[in-house]
Symmetry: C2
């Protein structure tokens, strides 16, 4: 029986070329999910299973709460689907939940908001056990300054300066309603919540905030960086390993 | 100037053939530490640096609090030694502390006790982010039964049934003064504290407790297993990835 399903997925992005299926690249999250589900449902070659993610994550970016929707023609129960997927997916992809849902549900079109976390680490030792999930900083940035700058980035703005896609033709206006910077031991974690994020946007926001924290960009420049609508004005794109998609709101 | 140093070290044991230096095996923790320190101090080839660990960990076993002692001929400060080591050691070995200490201090001979943790995980999803640091269980074992059995293992006993070294000629009597089994979410963590542990002992204790938890070994058999002094009577050796040396007491 054909039904629409909502999947909640975690993955360690280290080994993958990102979420999106790509020709000749076997290691993508979407590609792995689709090939397991195509096999599971014996879908014909000319009509393979198509998994719709809530968005794309870049190569090397992780997820704890990616949501995807997929139409499956199967008599299996939700639990059986989850068990099958976890058995045949590689150990760095986990399906945490499978729920039958309205046929109108679409993981991307219906997403109302997303939470991303960017994790940094500093210290005289090394983060041996989560080295693939943090950005190691040479020294501690000024967190108060970063919080001041974050306040100026919150709100509905044209985030073109923070967009990694130079050819972006659609609107680059987004609403970021929260940026929280939490300190815990040797960790500094940036939490971003908004209605949507442009390509590389969270990583460029983080890279810019870190430049503020190191005194390379004054807090007073933030307004001008936003207004410039010029990627060259913002800070560098922070590397992918610190980033994790935490939650998608519907 | 020649001085004795106490090192506190963490490592992700996944890629290593264990702590102990071995001929023709480059990937050992002791070997990595010694080669970095030999280079740092320009020690002569016929008198390379010798690092003494508090004990040996098996291939694939991790440590958060390994302690080692080493005599170094250097004018560098403790902080400089730590910085040099962390710079040249691979990313899966971290030196957390370097302290000059009495020349009489020896990490193995002076160790009074050790804490090991064995981490298990069960559930319908998969532990994507710490998959290399846990044993994934097919189903949840009976924790109360395991706690009952653990009480019978606590104390000073001949642990020959729990020793992986068949040729062990020295005493196999050890004192295990605490075995705590903690549940948190999908995790079950076994904490072992004792004055010393035989080869594979923590892994065989864990493997035996899990058999109790699955009903394959009755709690009432534990006393007999200890008394038998026969490795064949105890449960299997739990795999290395769940094990971590947490702390060494002096």
């Amino acid at each position: 029986m054909k039904r629409n399903y909502k999947l909640q997925i975690s993955y360690d992005g280290t080994r993958f070329y990102g979420w999106e299926r790509q020709p000749n690249k076997e290691m993508t999250i979407q590609g792995k999910l689709e090939s397991v589900l195509t096999k599971m449902t014996n879908a014909p070659d000319d009509d393979p299973v198509n998994v719709n993610g809530s968005g794309r994550t870049d190569a090397g970016v992780h997820a704890r709460g990616m949501v995807a929707s997929v139409v499956l023609d199967t008599d299996m129960t939700e639990d059986e689907i989850q068990e099958y997927m976890n058995k045949y997916l590689p150990e760095d992809i986990s399906v945490n939940e499978v729920r039958a849902c309205s046929e109108r549900f679409h993981a991307r079109y219906n997403a109302l908001g997303k939470t991303y976390r960017y994790t940094c680490w500093y210290g005289t030792s090394k983060p041996v056990f989560d080295r693939k999930y943090v950005l190691v900083l040479e020294e501690k940035p000024d967190v108060d300054k970063m919080r001041e700058a974050a306040l100026l980035l919150i709100g509905t703005h044209d985030f073109k300066s923070f967009c990694g896609n130079k050819k972006m033709k659609k609107s680059t206006v987004r609403c970021v309603d929260a940026i929280n910077i939490e300190e815990s031991g040797n960790y500094i974690r940036f939490y971003f919540h908004g209605n949507g994020f442009l390509q590389n946007m969270v990583r460029i926001l983080t890279g810019t905030l870190l430049e503020v924290g190191y005194g390379n960009i004054p807090v007073s420049d933030i307004k001008g960086i936003l207004e410039a609508c010029d990627r060259q004005k913002a800070g560098p794109t922070a590397p992918p390993e610190g980033l994790c998609l935490m939650k998608v709101d519907y």
